[in-house]
């Protein structure tokens, strides 16, 4: 743990008695009070996450739009200034480099938010694909800190600390230079929990003020500091993918069920040819939801069987705290992807009964 990087909120986590673990080389709290109470706080009231480990890359220049449009799978030509879009970066073979949020400030200035574990790889990938585009790329990950305020009471809490009318920031929009508790922030109505909420970016030296003031403002509204443990259970119930689980260099966005973020009709982007071919030939693997019918808990990496043979693997599974069922996502042979198809999940060498269910585990509570 001594070798881990510390976020600017490390001392704040110690004050809140967070249980700190090594996450992708960062010392971050997996939980404070407990994963279940924190999960419930986000679903019912609000939670605040330190996500300062996330990476941020600025893309500036006359061809910023063209560069990003070539880099990602989604079609950013539909974006207005101040919008945010979810997208993926792919390799030429269709495998996934990473998923990311694309912030459009204007057509010559984009801001890309990438996964902590992939920052170096992603930034190198961007540099490798800069080609002749007239853009400047700057990895500002080490200068920017971020907190995510998530839950049905997120707006009420944040509004106490800012004069900006938060009703003006719609779902998947952003605003720069918003003053929060006297600190200049970039704010977007985005998140990774399936709830309404905001992601708030500020300079390293200012983020602790934002964190402390938010916690104080939300104290009487049920706001809790929330750790990586419930971040994963929350995003899983909302069927939001995690790099390394649902997507990876060996799994394409189409196989992961993220086709709506892959615009194959757009002119060109890295990986397009392979993804077009995958779609035309029909997917050999699909990501499905499943419910365990026998007693047990499915986990990432467990084998999935049907007809006496291994047909895939569990990508994420939990005893889901809100859904209150043992459910999972699995990447399996597409022949078994129909709803209600019987499966077996191998848990401690025993095959347990499961069936394919809809991936819509939860009704998301977004404020659109």
């Amino acid at each position: 743990m001594e070798n881990c990087k510390k976020t600017p909120l490390f001392n704040a986590h110690q004050r809140s008695e967070g249980k700190v673990i090594d996450f992708a080389g960062w010392a971050l709290p997996v939980q404070y009070e407990g994963i279940i109470p924190e999960h419930e706080a986000v679903r019912n009231n609000a939670g605040i996450f330190d996500v300062s480990h996330m990476g941020e890359v600025e893309v500036k220049g006359p061809q910023a739009f063209d560069f990003v449009q070539n880099l990602v799978t989604n079609d950013i030509s539909t974006m207005q200034d101040g919008q945010v879009m979810y997208a993926l970066m792919c390799y030429p073979d269709g495998g996934t480099v990473d998923d990311l949020l694309v912030y459009k400030f204007n057509s010559e200035f984009f801001y890309l938010v990438i996964n902590a574990s992939n920052v170096d790889k992603d930034y190198q990938w961007m540099l490798d694909n800069k080609n002749n585009y007239n853009v400047d790329l700057k990895n500002v990950s080490d200068e920017v800190a971020e907190v995510a305020l998530q839950g049905p009471k997120a707006q009420e809490i944040l509004q106490k600390l800012t004069d900006t009318n938060l009703d003006d920031i719609k779902f998947f929009y952003n605003q720069r230079d918003v003053m929060v508790a006297g600190v200049k922030c970039l704010i977007s109505r985005t998140g990774y929990t399936g709830e309404d909420g905001f992601e708030i970016y500020a300079a390293n030296q200012d983020i602790e003020t934002v964190w402390d003031e938010l916690l104080a403002a939300g104290k009487d509204l049920g706001l809790k500091p929330t750790g990586l443990g419930c971040r994963d259970t929350l995003r899983f119930e909302a069927t939001l993918p995690l790099y390394g689980n649902e997507i990876s260099k060996d799994v394409s966005p189409l196989e992961a069920g993220l086709g709506m973020f892959v615009k194959l009709n757009k002119e060109n982007f890295i990986g397009k040819n392979a993804l077009v071919k995958q779609k035309e030939e029909g997917l050999k693997r699909k990501t499905v939801g499943f419910e365990l019918l026998d007693k047990g808990i499915p986990r990432h990496g467990y084998e999935v069987m049907a007809d006496g043979k291994v047909i895939g693997v569990v990508t994420t599974g939990y005893m889901a705290p809100t859904v209150k069922k043992s459910i999972g996502l699995a990447l399996i042979d597409a022949a078994y992807a129909e709803l209600e198809t019987p499966l077996e999940i191998i848990i401690r060498n025993k095959p347990l009964k499961a069936k394919v269910i809809s991936k819509k585990f939860l009704n998301k509570n977004y404020k659109k």
Partner: protein, 124 residues
Amino acid sequence: MNLLNDLLYTKNHEWIKVEGEKAYIGITDYAQHALGDIVFVELSEVDTELSAGDSFGAIESVKAASDSYLPVSGTIVEVNEAVIDDPSLLNQDAYANWMVAITLSNKSELDELLTAEQYEAHCK
């Protein structure tokens, strides 16, 4: 750290309470705290014969699954259905809620286990 002096302990954070030829086995307060919210318990069936070090079940928190190992050899004579029905009992009181009871097949193995004092030192 919460400890009971009349129990024996293992380095794997199980406790054992000996009553004649019979022994009750559970996990320590340190273990339940380290695991966090326990949401699932699976135990071997009655009449299963196990050697010291064999897994007699699994405890799962929200985040992870971990096996529980028998500190000494024996045959399972009872399983505590209460902790299967409500795994959070282990979080509430790890010593009041045993997991399995066994008949001891080799009492001399008890000599290898830790006293409360030794276990406390191990956890530091």
